[in-house]
């Protein structure tokens, strides 16, 4: 559905994105992940034909961004980072305007509006002036706007920013539900969001794609290191000689110490929970907790992005 091919965009001397390449299948929800300033918004602005890239190209729904931007725009729903709202209009007036400029046939406008309003959960506020709405509702109006023309492709730039936790959950559910019927690209720097909503992740850092995989796949990839959380009743340096007995342990760290109970995070190359437990007990140390923890996407993200910074 979407093919992005070596997109590069320079702002003056500085490359905002450099050779970004990825594909999105029809009905897929793709997460663009990266820290602020990584080039997510730039990528999205190019895909929405808001601005042209310096080089490279992209094809959306079979249309090239250089040759037929109009055709792409017809099949596109876009929610920019700041929802593009006219704060002096009422919600219905605004949606009516958007429906007109998005070429929704005249007789279908009322039904298109009511369905978008329902999907975005705006039923209670349709007659309110947008400027009087809360941030969360404004974001929803932005989302309703993107859904109005029943687009093949939805591009959402940080759709959950500024929402309260309950609204975030609702919007994520909505996005998940939109996949399948629509092809969705969403950008975020909040990792749980990707884990919860996206079928695939493209991680961008400093304008370059650093990884792309399913959320599970990415976790797997970094499975080389195993993390074990260990809580013991020990004092001082008692644990250190025990750890040093295992060559598999690459790193350990005292995370917390409360009422004589120490919490360690141990990184190992393989799962040694059984042996570790034995060793602890044999040394007459009380064992409180022992479990392994797979790396969350958040950590992968830190991993991937901090590496670049160090280099």
């Amino acid at each position: 559905m979407i093919q992005v091919n070596a997109l590069t965009k320079y702002y003056g001397e500085k490359a905002a994105i450099d050779g970004v390449t990825f594909q999105v299948q029809k009905g897929e929800v793709l997460g663009l992940l990266g820290p602020n300033g990584a080039g997510k918004t730039t990528t999205m602005r190019i895909l929405t034909c808001y601005m042209p890239p310096t080089s490279g190209d992209a094809t959306i729904a079979g249309f090239n961004i250089w040759d037929e931007p109009m055709e792409i725009k017809r099949r596109l729903g876009y929610l920019p980072e700041n929802p593009p709202l006219y704060t002096d209009l009422r919600v219905t007036e605004y949606l009516e305007f958007v429906a007109k400029i998005k070429e929704v046939p005249k007789d279908r406008i009322p039904s298109a509006i009511s369905s978008a309003v329902e999907k975005a959960g705006l039923t209670d506020v349709v007659n309110k002036v947008i400027g009087h709405l809360s941030k969360g509702y404004k974001q929803r109006v932005g989302l309703a706007q993107a859904l109005l023309n029943d687009p093949d492709v939805l591009i959402l730039d940080e759709p959950t920013v500024g929402l309260d936790p309950r609204q975030i959950i609702e919007i994520r559910e909505l996005i998940k539900a939109l996949g399948g019927e629509h092809t969705v690209i969403l950008s975020t720097h909040i990792l749980p969001e990707v884990e919860m909503t996206c079928g695939r992740v493209v991680i961008i850092n400093e304008g370059k794609v650093v990884a792309q995989d399913t959320p599970d796949g990415l976790t797997q990839r970094l499975k080389g290191t195993e993390r074990i959380i260990l809580e013991v009743k020990a004092d001082g340096q008692q644990m250190e000689p025990i750890f040093s007995r295992f060559p598999q342990i690459t790193r350990f760290q005292l995370e917390d110490s409360k009422n004589g109970v120490q919490k360690y995070v141990v990184e190992t190359t393989e799962d040694i929970r059984n042996e570790l437990a034995k060793a602890v007990v044999q040394n007459n140390i009380d064992l409180f907790e022992l479990h392994s923890e797979s790396l969350s996407l958040e950590e992968i993200f830190l991993h991937l992005t901090t590496k670049e910074e160090v280099a």
């Binding site: 601005m51 876009y78 007109k100 400029i101």
Partner: protein, 260 residues
């Protein structure tokens, strides 16, 4: 066409949902009203003085012509006030969209730049015509109590609308260059004033330059309309001016998109 109309309609809503429209309309009505009163009073006074004089010295009273001595200078006055007020109409036309980020919606919708710019220009022009309505009521009074010629009034308004269109096209262009409304207003006013006084500079320029400057002066082309003469040459000038303004706005919008 439908999309241009959608933009037009949206702009009209912006005008009338914000207090600016009412302030501008009220301001324009009050100022033009006061001037109308003053012009009318001095016209009537001159007539009475002449009557008294003619009775004292047993001379025949002068002929007073409402069109020539009241309506014509009043049209000039309206043009001048428009010069001051129109930048307030055009200042937000484009810069507000840039400031609020709503350009992202416009540029990612299946709209052409022509749709956007033309819709905005027509909205500005239509708003100006609404602004002129109170002055038409003042003129109406002259027809109720006097007997002026009708056609020069029509030509005067045609001239005003064309002149206003030129100012609006220029102001829209300035507005498309900045996201700051104040700068857009000052710039629009500066441009209009410059084009107004450029004819004056013609007095001090060489013969070749003088004719160019005279042609460029937006106000020189207004003279005939105020006098009741509709000359296609002047209509062409204003239409050309508006086209140029709209065209430059389109190019500026496009170039900003590429520079972004």
């Amino acid at each position: 066409m439908r999309k241009t109309l959608a933009i037009f309609e949206k702009e009209m809503r912006h005008f009338f949902y914000s207090p600016i429209a009412y302030i501008v309309i009220a301001l324009f009505a009050v100022i033009t009203g006061v001037f109308f009163y003053l012009y009318l009073s001095s016209f009537v006074q001159a007539m009475i003085m002449d009557m008294i004089r003619s009775q004292q010295f047993r001379t025949t009273p002068q002929k007073f012509n409402v069109n020539l001595q009241l309506i014509r200078p009043y049209f000039w006055n309206l043009a001048l006030i428009s010069l001051f007020v129109l930048p307030l109409v055009t200042m937000r036309l484009y810069s507000e969209e840039k400031k609020n980020g709503t350009v992202e919606l416009l540029y990612t919708s299946p709209l052409t730049i022509t749709n956007i710019v033309l819709g905005k220009f027509l909205a500005g022009l239509f708003f100006y015509i609404i602004m002129l309505i109170p002055t038409m009521l003042f003129m109406g009074l002259l027809f109720v109590y006097g007997n002026p010629e009708f056609l020069p009034v029509v030509s005067g308004y045609l001239g005003l609308i064309l002149l206003g269109g030129a100012f609006i096209a220029g102001g829209l262009f300035i507005s498309s260059l900045t996201e700051n409304q104040i700068i857009a207003a000052i710039g629009g006013f500066g441009l209009a004033l410059l084009l107004w006084v450029i004819g004056w500079a013609a007095n001090f320029a060489g013969p070749g330059m003088a004719s160019v400057l005279n042609y460029l002066s937006v106000i020189n082309h207004f003279e005939d309309f105020a006098q009741g003469v509709i000359d296609t040459q002047h209509i062409a000038f204003y239409l050309l001016f508006m086209t140029l303004g709209v065209y430059l706005t389109m190019r500026s919008v496009e170039s900003i998109k590429w520079r972004a």
